[in-house]
Structures are given as structure tokens and as C-alpha cells.
């Protein structure tokens, strides 16, 4: 199994793992982490496409790699915006949750 | 027949890897966060130094050897300072 195929399968696994975490975790920051895991899996798939596109004297195809570099920086910008939104929600409301019923129920209670 | 330089590289990198493994064993087996920090910092810095020593005979441009030593120095600095900062928090919080 060539490194490209192995890396591609790892990318597919990462997308699956990230999807699981994205759907299940109630805390928004954990969702953001899982979303970043999905993003890195997708970048890996781009990377193997780049490696397989070795031609014309280069050992890789530079266009997908340039796209991945762009993607990593844009993913960081999106994560920063998401973090700012989460922290803004916390400073406005005192707690961080995406549960739509949480704002109609009474505040955090003791116990558990 | 392996040349003497290759043998030296092999020995140095092998010793460096051994120190890394020793540091990881310390991380997993020591009871206290502070002792784990100590084991990890010391062993990893020494291991990296040995690995860099083993890589120096294999560079093609001699300036790259200087870069390797600079990398080791930077990791030493930041690793040591970070360990100090973590240790300070651990000592205060006793976590």
C-alpha cells in the first residue's frame, strides 16, 4: 500500500471520527475541535491527490498543495471567529450551550 | 561495509531514541505531575541533542549543521521555559 493510499484512508477515517464528535458533543468548543479534525482529514485527501499528480518532472502536483495551504489558513480564521462567537455568547449569557431549550428552563441547578 | 561516520550516526540516533523512550516511560509511570515533567524535559532535551549529533555527519550543506544545532538550542530554551511555567502552576495548584 503506497503512502498516498494509506494517507487517504487515514483522511477518510479522520472525517468519520470528526463527524461523530461534531454531532454528539454538546459543548460548542468540542464541536469546533471535531470540525477541525474533519477539515484536516479533507486536507489529507487533497494531499494524496497532490502526491498522485506527480508529473512533468515534479514529484507532486503543486496546485492542490497550494489549495491546502490556503485552506489551513482559512480554517484557522474560521476557528478564530467561532471561538470569538462562543466567548461572546458566554459573556452575554453566562453559559455556553447550543441546546434551544436551555434558555427557557431555569438556570443551572445543583446536583449531578 | 558501513563506514565509520554512518556507524557513529546510527549509535548517536539510537542513543537519542533510547532517551526519548526513557522519557516517555517516565511520563507514563511516575506518580506525580512534577516528577513526570522533570523526566520528560531532561530526557527529551538530551535525546534531541544526541539525535542532532547523529544527524550532523549526514548533512549535505555544512550550513545545515548549524541550523540543526540552532534548532536544538531553540527547543532547549522553549522546552525548559515551558517546563518552568508548567511547574510553577503545578506547585501552586498541586494538581
Amino acid at each position: 500500500m503506497s503512502p498516498s493510499t494509506l494517507a487517504g484512508l487515514v483522511g477518510a477515517t479522520l472525517v468519520g471520527l470528526g463527524l461523530y464528535g461534531l454531532v454528539l458533543h454538546p459543548h460548542p468548543l468540542r464541536k469546533l475541535l471535531a470540525f477541525n479534525v474533519i477539515g484536516n482529514g479533507v486536507f489529507l485527501v487533497f494531499g494524496i491527490i497532490a502526491r498522485r499528480g506527480a508529473a512533468a518532472g515534479l514529484s507532486f502536483d503543486p496546485v492542490p498543495q497550494a489549495m491546502v495551504i490556503t485552506g489551513i489558513v482559512v480554517a484557522f480564521a474560521a476557528s478564530a471567529l467561532a471561538v470569538a462567537l462562543i466567548l461572546g455568547l458566554y459573556s452575554e449569557a453566562g453559559r455556553v450551550t447550543l441546546d434551544p431549550d436551555a434558555w427557557t428552563k431555569p438556570g443551572p441547578e445543583e446536583g449531578k | 561495509m558501513i563506514s565509520l561516520l554512518d556507524l557513529f550516526s546510527l549509535a548517536a540516533i539510537g542513543a537519542g531514541t533510547f532517551f526519548f523512550v526513557a522519557g516517555t516511560v517516565g511520563l507514563l509511570r511516575f506518580p506525580d505531575s512534577l516528577s513526570r515533567l522533570h523526566a520528560l524535559t531532561k530526557a527529551d532535551n538530551l535525546g534531541l541533542g544526541l539525535v542532532v549529533l547523529g544527524l550532523i555527519p549526514r548533512v549535505e550543506i555544512s550550513l545545515a549543521a548549524l541550523k540543526l544545532i540552532l534548532i536544538w538550542g531553540l527547543v532547549l530554551t522553549s522546552g525548559g521555559s515551558t517546563a518552568q511555567l508548567i511547574g510553577r502552576v503545578l506547585r501552586r495548584g498541586r494538581k
Binding site: 500500500m1 503512502p3 493510499t5 494509506l6 494517507a7 487517504g8 484512508l9 487515514v10 483522511g11 477518510a12 477515517t13 479522520l14 468519520g16 463527524l19 461523530y20 464528535g21 454531532v23 454528539l24 458533543h25 454538546p26 459543548h27 468548543l29 468540542r30 475541535l33 471535531a34 479534525v37 484536516n40 486536507f43 485527501v45 494531499g47 494524496i48 497532490a50 502526491r51 499528480g53 508529473a55 512533468a56 502536483d61 503543486p62 496546485v63 497550494a66 495551504i69 490556503t70 489551513i72 489558513v73 484557522f76 474560521a78 476557528s79 478564530a80 471567529l81 471561538v83 470569538a84 462562543i86 466567548l87 453559559r95 441547578e109 | 531553540l74 530554551t77 522553549s78 521555559s81 518552568q84
Partner: protein, 317 residues
């Protein structure tokens, strides 16, 4: 006997394990630390895939600066670690999501295994565009970023600015124009001060070096800019410098300098080289380095602003 396949498999299983630990860890801090380690391991995979520029970017931006962002966020949210119990999803939802995740992963894996044997590639066009009179650079990725796909890169810088403006808008209206909360403690420990004093000058030099050699060797504007951004953040954490007021003219100028210079050069290409974003032949490399220098400035200004967050009325540390 070749040991590389075993190392590949070892690296792959390590990455999957650390990613799983990121997703299923109980504690937010453990998850963030796992994510940083996972990013660094990914840099190894990029090296194996013959992508040193991507490895540099992943280590610097993907795991480094994102790690700082997440740990700062976790620290500011630290009070709620003991807060109300989250509504944990029931077992039915867990099974369903697990099945969905496995389905998506298998579909992607099948697509990867069924990729065409003769892979299509844009390498020939990129090489002709890069080595021709359009760019004349030794690093094909920099040539692709600044010459072959220059419009994409310029728009990406605009996306960074939009993210900064978005982060600034989250602050209260009354706080607009103030500075964000400081990144470091009010009395930084001597180890932090020592680290900043040693690391910041050397790191700045290395960042400029990485940008400079990016024209002909692995490196480039993004990697160098990320390093400069990290050095400014280290200096701010040691309280050598404070996050600037967001209405400071030099800040806003530095932020838009990158895409503005890019756009001006692209428009000038209409008159000088006959086409939007075309560079005059023979003069391309100095123009590219000129554009990249301003891009490094913009990135080095934008990334710490994204980490510092929205402007605040008073200091909360």
C-alpha cells in the same frame, strides 16, 4: 528490507488514535492538547507526501496558532468547567451517529481506492506557468500561490481581514475602538520573560528567513508570517507589548496592506503586462517578493488579532 512501510503504518495508527482521543476525551483541555499533538503528527504525514510547505504551514498555523487560540479560549471559559451538566445524547443517537460516521468514512475510502490509475494533474501547466516568464521561481508552490492562482491568494487575505472584522464586531458597541484584553498575566513569571527575550528576536529572524527562501525552497509568505505572528504573541504574553487599540491607524494599514498591494499590482498588470494579474516577463520575481513582503506583514498583524479577540471595556485578567 525496507522499514518505511512499517513506519507509515505506525504513523497512521498513531494519528488515528490521537484524533480519536481528541474526539472522545472527557476534558476540554485534554482534547485541545490532543489536537495540538495531532497537528504535529500530521506535519510528519505531509513530509511523507512530499509537501514540505504544507508541513510547515500545518505545524505553524494548523496546530501552533490554532492551539494558542483554543487554549486561550479554554482559559477564558475555565469557570464553566464545573458548571451545569450538559445534556448527554442518548444511546440511540450515539449508535445512529456512529453508523453515519462509518458510512461517510467508508464512502470516502471507497472513492480514494477507486481513484483513476492515471491521475489527472495540473503539474504541467503549473510548471510552465512557474518556470516561464510569468514567475521564474524555484519553488513551484510559491509560483502557484502568487502567480498561477494569484487571485485565490489575494481573496484569501481578504477572508482573513473579514474574520478580523467579524471578531471585532463581537465586542460590545461601547467598547469599539478599545484594545482587546491583554494576552498575558499582569505579572508575568520570569521564565516567560526570559523565553520572550530569547525567542522573539531569533524567531523574527527565522520568520523573515523562511519568507525569503520561500521563493526557491520550501517556505513562503504564510509560514514566515505565522512565525512572526507567533513571536508578537510571545512578546504580548510576556507583557512586553499590549494588544493595540483596534482603531489605531498603523494597525488597520498593516492589516489591509497585503491584499491592497496585491490588488494594485494585479490592476497594474493590465497596463504593464497586458492582463489582469499578469506580471511583466523578466521582472516577475522582484514583483512577487514585493507582494509577498506585504502579505507577510498582513498575516503577522492579522493572526495575533484573531487570537486576541474582540475589544474589551476593562481588563478581565
Amino acid at each position: 528490507m525496507n522499514i518505511l512501510p512499517f513506519l507509515d503504518i505506525l504513523l497512521a495508527s498513531l494519528i488515528v488514535t490521537v484524533a480519536a482521543s481528541t474526539v472522545v476525551a472527557r476534558d476540554l483541555f485534554a482534547a485541545v492538547v490532543s489536537y495540538v499533538a495531532y497537528g504535529l503528527l500530521l506535519a510528519f504525514v505531509w513530509i511523507r507526501l512530499y509537501a514540505p510547505d504544507v508541513a510547515l504551514t500545518e505545524a505553524a498555523v494548523g496546530s501552533g496558532v490554532t492551539g494558542v487560540l483554543l487554549i486561550t479560549a479554554g482559559k477564558r471559559l475555565a469557570a464553566i468547567r464545573k458548571a451545569e451538566p450538559e445534556a448527554q445524547p442518548g444511546p440511540a443517537l450515539k449508535w445512529l451517529t456512529g453508523a453515519l460516521a462509518v458510512l461517510v468514512a467508508c464512502a470516502l475510502a471507497a472513492a480514494i481506492l477507486m481513484l483513476p490509475d492515471v491521475p489527472p494533474s495540473l503539474a504541467p501547466e503549473a510548471v510552465t506557468a512557474a518556470s516561464g516568464p510569468g514567475a521564474g521561481l524555484g519553488n513551484p508552490i510559491t509560483a502557484v500561490l502568487i502567480s498561477y492562482r494569484s487571485f485565490d491568494t489575494m481573496l484569501e487575505k481578504v477572508v482573513l481581514i473579514l474574520a478580523v472584522v467579524g471578531v471585532w464586531s463581537i465586542g460590545k458597541d461601547a467598547a469599539w475602538g478599545n484594545a482587546p484584553a491583554p494576552l498575558g498575566r499582569s505579572r508575568p513569571s520570569p521564565a516567560m520573560v526570559f523565553l520572550a527575550q530569547i525567542l522573539a528576536p531569533i524567531g523574527t529572524l527565522i520568520g523573515i528567513h523562511i519568507f525569503w527562501v520561500g521563493a526557491d525552497a520550501p517556505g513562503g509568505a504564510f509560514q514566515g508570517g505565522a512565525l512572526l505572528a507567533a513571536m508578537w504573541m510571545v512578546a504580548m504574553m510576556a507583557r512586553f507589548d499590549e494588544p493595540p487599540r483596534i482603531d489605531a491607524k498603523w494597525l488597520r494599514l498593516g492589516l489591509v496592506a497585503g491584499p491592497a498591494v496585491f490588488l494594485v499590482v494585479g490592476l497594474a498588470g493590465i497596463s504593464m503586462a497586458g492582463n489582469f494579474f499578469a506580471y511583466p516577463p523578466g521582472f516577475a520575481k522582484p514583483i512577487i517578493i514585493f507582494i509577498e513582503a506585504f502579505m507577510v506583514l498582513s498575516i503577522a498583524v492579522a493572526l495575533p488579532l484573531l487570537v486576541a479577540g474582540p475589544p474589551s471595556e476593562g481588563y478581565e485578567t
